[in-house]
């Protein structure tokens, strides 16, 4: 009986058809009933110094993540993030199989061919059927998110900067109905450069983002009116931040040999990865491809207001603010010791 039982569990060879359907070594994950609340912990960020080299400790407070409708973290409930059919993913894929959603709704290849790319991605965006409004009630943010209304989060964090003895400056951030579908980080090795390169896309869609400059419950920051007067409110705000276009302008993460941090987006056309000059025809081909396909950066705020938004009560309404279709031709950020 035991022997016959074993025979039923025998390993079966996969035929070619079954084998060919298997590809991409990766796994997906979703967060089921997640709630995070760090209000009971003391978190301090150090090593950020002022002009005279003194440490300015930053206390992290009111850090929470929960379901929407939390009223700035006061009423936290668990939330599902990611869907079983559109989960977070960590995969190792070939450059030619990865796609990026261009602003006109086309999926294009941005990573070079013949490289293995390690990708960490947020739930994918959906074009066509099943797409969800990225910001509810605001069509301009698009309707190609995969996360539904119940899979959005409220997220908040407060930073207390202890600038000097007796003086603490505060930034209190509260996102409501935040979703980050379509964000990713892709990393691979660039052979001619001999270093790790990548491309990143950060998509943030929020029904609102409030920045308050005081700690709730302290002097002049207790009543709703006092709090509003010290708040900058961004409503229906989204950002698609694109760093790098793998084919011709990979994002270079680097530490220089003298120990300084360098973040660089090289000029896509002038030099090849190994530093040699390129002929004009090749430069033209690369430039046309770059302008046609490199993902752009957009930052759109449907309404930005300071305080109440009304001049008569000391506020101001800045209305609609946007940066759209921004393409970075060259960027180099380096740290320096002061």
């Amino acid at each position: 009986m035991l022997l016959s039982g074993a025979a039923q569990a025998e390993l079966q060879a996969l035929d070619d058809q079954e084998l060919s359907a298997v590809q991409g070594a990766g796994f997906g994950f979703v967060l089921d009933g997640i709630l995070l609340d760090a209000s009971g912990a003391t978190i301090t960020v150090n090593d950020i110094n002022n002009a005279s080299g003194q440490n300015v400790p930053i206390s992290v407070k009111e850090f929470y993540l929960g379901a929407t409708g939390s009223n700035k973290g006061a009423n936290l409930n668990p939330v599902n993030i990611g869907r079983l059919d559109h989960p977070f993913e960590i995969t190792l894929a070939k450059g030619e199989t990865l796609r990026t959603l261009r602003d006109d709704g086309q999926w294009v290849q941005t990573t070079p061919s013949n490289v293995s790319v390690l990708e960490f991605k947020f739930p994918e965006r959906l074009t066509g059927a099943g797409g969800q409004a990225c910001i509810s009630g605001y069509a301009a943010a698009g309707s190609n998110c995969s996360s539904r209304a119940s899979e959005r989060v409220d997220l908040g964090i407060r930073f207390d900067f202890q600038v000097a003895a007796g003086r603490t400056d505060i930034i209190n951030l509260d996102f409501s109905e935040l979703v980050m579908d379509g964000s990713y980080l892709r990393l691979w090795g660039d052979d001619p450069r001999g270093q790790l390169v990548g491309e990143a896309r950060v998509n943030l869609f929020a029904k609102s983002l409030q920045l308050m400059s005081c700690a709730a419950g302290t002097a002049n920051c207790t009543s709703a009116q006092e709090q509003t007067a010290r708040t900058l409110t961004l409503s229906n705000a989204f950002a698609n931040i694109s760093l790098g276009y793998g084919k011709s302008q990979p994002l270079l993460f680097d530490v220089s040999s003298n120990g300084q941090f360098v973040l660089e987006l090289p000029n896509p056309v002038t030099r090849a990865a190994n530093g040699s000059a390129r002929p004009a025809a090749e430069r033209n081909t690369i430039a046309s491809d770059f302008y046609a396909n490199a993902p752009r950066t957009n930052i759109v705020i449907d309404n930005l207001k300071a305080g109440t938004g009304s001049f008569s009560t000391g506020g101001y309404n800045f209305g609609y603010n946007a940066i759209q279709g921004l393409s970075i031709n060259y960027l180099k950020v380096t740290s320096r010791d002061l």
């Binding site: 039982g5 990766g26 967060l31 089921d32 912990a41 300084q260």
Partner: protein
Amino acid sequence: MISKVWLAISALLAMPAFAEMQALDDDTLSSMNGQGGVYLSGEFSINKDGGVLWSKPVSNNPSTWTASQRSCANAGATTPENCGMRVAIRSEADGGWYVLDNLKGVFSFEGLTLRTRTINSGFNGDGAAFNQDVLEFGLPNEVKFKDGSFAFGVANQGGWQNKSLSVANGGNPSYQQTNIFSAKIDGTIRMQGNVLIFPQN
């Protein structure tokens, strides 16, 4: 008397026969569902009292340290502190290093679970179509940190060297490390929910 003893002994001998392992037939086996899982609770402490590479000096001033001493207190602090673990990664053939430094502290958790779970319903309608097994990490409801810390920085050497000491004294004046930021964590963080992990094509 003797017969009673024999009876008892023979009963003992006979007992194991009742407890003998029986092979399960296929029907019974196929009706078994994975009931396994692990419930973990415990404490994880890393370099709480400093690592083995450096001992704690008396002062926080690097120029007074010996070759085997290092303090990881903030610059300008009056009292020295033990140093935690250091991990350095280089992403360019001839470049500098990313450093995760001074990683130390106590991390305790009660009720971290690990099990498999079949999902074939729920999830706002996604579960039925999914119909698959997943690996479920159940987060503990509370995670406690005690003196947890880490620093993130960049350096021109993987290993730490004291730039305030001459090479003859075991230091390296050309060593350069810039900490971008460091963090300290103390207290309780509430973390609830499950992380569901599954293969993805």
